[in-house]
Amino acid sequence: MAHIEIRNLEKSFGDTPVLRGIDLTIERGEFIAVLGPSGCGKSTLLRIVAGLEAHDRGHILMDGRVVDGLAPKTRDVAVVFQSYALYPHMTVAQNLALPLVMRDLTRAERLPFVRYLSGRVRRTRADIRDGVARAASLVKIEGLLDRKPAQLSGGQRQRVALARALIRKPSLFLLDEPLSNLDATLRASTRAEIVQLQRTLGTTAIYVTHDQTEAMTMADRIAIMIEGRIVQVGTAREIYHRPTDVRAALFIGTPKMNLFDGTADNGAIRLAATGAVVVQATGARNGPVQIGIRPEHMVLVPEDPGDGIPVATTHREFLGSEALVHVAVGDGTQGTPAVARLDPDTADTMTVGRTAYARFRPGALHLFDGEGKCLDPDRHRPLSRIPSAFGQEDGASDAQPVPRIVGG
């Protein structure tokens, strides 16, 4: 169990900067997910923490001790690689035993015949066998110990890789997209198992993934990483409801958050496509802004309530418990695409090809400045209250079914 602190970590491959100043603190026993698109440097970060790759600038501290430049084996970390990296010429039992053999026996004691000479070596070897059996039973692969990796299914290999990582009880687990080679059903069940294992062992874990579902369902906290920077760290809820950066906002949530171009004009936030004022934000500096709203906070009605924004309905998807209605905002069907999540009955009242009317729930709006930073002056407000800076305070809460539209 280790406390990890990453300070201003930088790394370039040649002229290409890959990590551009990573700051991240991970508490003892915490399960943190590093979530980001392909190529953003997640694996590189993991490899640097493991000691497999050298970094250019910054520091890594484990339990307050700087570990920069220390060899991987002295850091007491274990990695589960995306490819599992099992030793193909060894049986599962030998794969699992290797970390223990390397740790518990000296070079001389590892020689094959020494066990016949030394009782101590014999005892250590017996302990190792017990350890292998225990680790195998933790991930339920007791029956596979004599197989070679080539004779295992993808899911079984994945379990062997997990067992090999946890067998010597490291103080830090690093997992690099360990589920990406599994099929959907297996992935869902393995997710829960990995979390459970981590909870039982209490080991600090960094879990790298580009799958938001994995990050949201497994991790205590999520660090969103984009282009070599951590743009936001927080629980899944925090990031979903209060993204501090437009890229974090877009990365979490399916369908994606709807985003519209807008302008701030003396506190009035206008939708560029229609010119409608959607909200008042006194703190906003004049200039371009981006207006974000989650699909479930965008309400569509078939008839104009008087203050609705006309949108063109382009597509309707029935998903059982809910329905998604795709619309274009402004400029007919060529306008900015957006998605509203509605209950199926409401969605049925919308006709594809016809104009519908959208209302944005002011308290659920997200405003981002030209650089994509959240404009919300007080993003630590409780979720249920609408701050006065975003439209007139009227006691409306997120739970209120029909929202008000400000201006028009």
Binding site: P72, Q82, P149, A150
Partner: protein, 276 residues
């Protein structure tokens, strides 16, 4: 067997014909070595002797020339060459495939360039070098020119590149140092490549006539092909049965070694060294 039997039979027949064509010279060689001279000259296509003279031929061959000594020379030379080739080629290829250092691409270019140069082109300078250092007509003269094999470097380089870096990283995390990684992970994985390379190397150096002919004078150091050459020129004429018996003795170690190695070779491949 799930295969349709007709396809099976077709495949068997094709393979048998191909194997027979390839093996025919060898079969005749063995056949002749068992026949008396007059039967050989009488012609006839059957490789099987009517009158068995194998014992006389083989005994005669072993008596007239120190064939076993030649075979031993061959073993010493080939083993020496293979040993040093592996010692030099494996680490070199490993470094080029898995380590990052300046000039790597250039070195690899040199290796590829080296592949294009035949031994005949460099034989003269090498010979002069050996002669100046007084090494001609020794085992060293037979071994030293071949200790670095660009072909070996290239073959192992290609093979190392198929070993994923993550495998070596995993070993490093499991506490293995570079030597342990070599011994426990890399060497077992390259066994198929090493076997294949061993076959190439041993076959070509066992059968090499060109180089031994240049650097060897004393009959004691004759390699197997030189031995056959000596045998032929001395005995010549009518003792074809003995000649074939001698050839048989000299090629036998190679055939046996190949059959043994082939088993491992196929084993290594079918276990899918790098799968999973």
């Amino acid at each position: 067997m799930s295969k349709p039997p007709r396809l099976q039979i077709l495949r068997l027949v094709t393979l048998t014909i191909a194997a027979t064509v390839l093996l025919l010279p060898y079969i005749y060689m063995v056949g002749f070595s068992l026949k008396p001279v007059d039967e050989i000259f009488a012609g006839g296509l059957s490789p099987f002797p009517r009158e068995f003279a194998g014992l006389a031929n083989y005994a005669g061959a072993l008596e007239s020339e120190p064939l076993l000594r030649y075979v031993a020379n061959g073993v010493i030379v080939c083993a020496g060459i293979l040993f040093f080739q592996l010692v030099f080629a494996v680490p070199c290829a490993y470094a080029m495939a898995k380590l990052r250092f300046p000039g790597r691409a250039f070195m690899l270019g040199l290796v590829l360039f080296g592949l294009l140069i035949p031994i005949q082109a460099t034989s003269l300078p090498i010979y002069i070098g050996l002669a100046r250092s007084g090494l001609t007509d020794t085992y060293a003269a037979l071994i030293v020119p071949f200790v670095s094999s660009v072909f070996g470097v290239f073959l192992f380089y290609q093979f190392f590149r198929t070993i994923p870096d993550e495998l070596l990283d995993a070993a490093r995390l499991d506490g293995c140092g570079d030597v342990t990684i070599m011994v426990r992970i890399v060497l077992p994985l390259i066994m198929p490549a090493a076997t294949a390379f061993g076959i190439f190397s041993v076959v070509s150096h066992w059968n090499d006539l060109f180089w031994p002919l240049i650097v060897i004078r004393s009959p004691d150091l004759n390699t197997p092909p030189l031995g056959i050459l000596a045998f032929r020129s001395e005995e010549a004429g009518d003792s074809y049965g003995q000649l074939m018996a001698g050839t048989g003795i000299i090629t036998a170690p190679l055939v046996i070694a190949f059959l043994l190695a082939q088993r491992r070779f196929i084993e290594g491949i079918s276990l899918g060294a790098l799968k999973g």
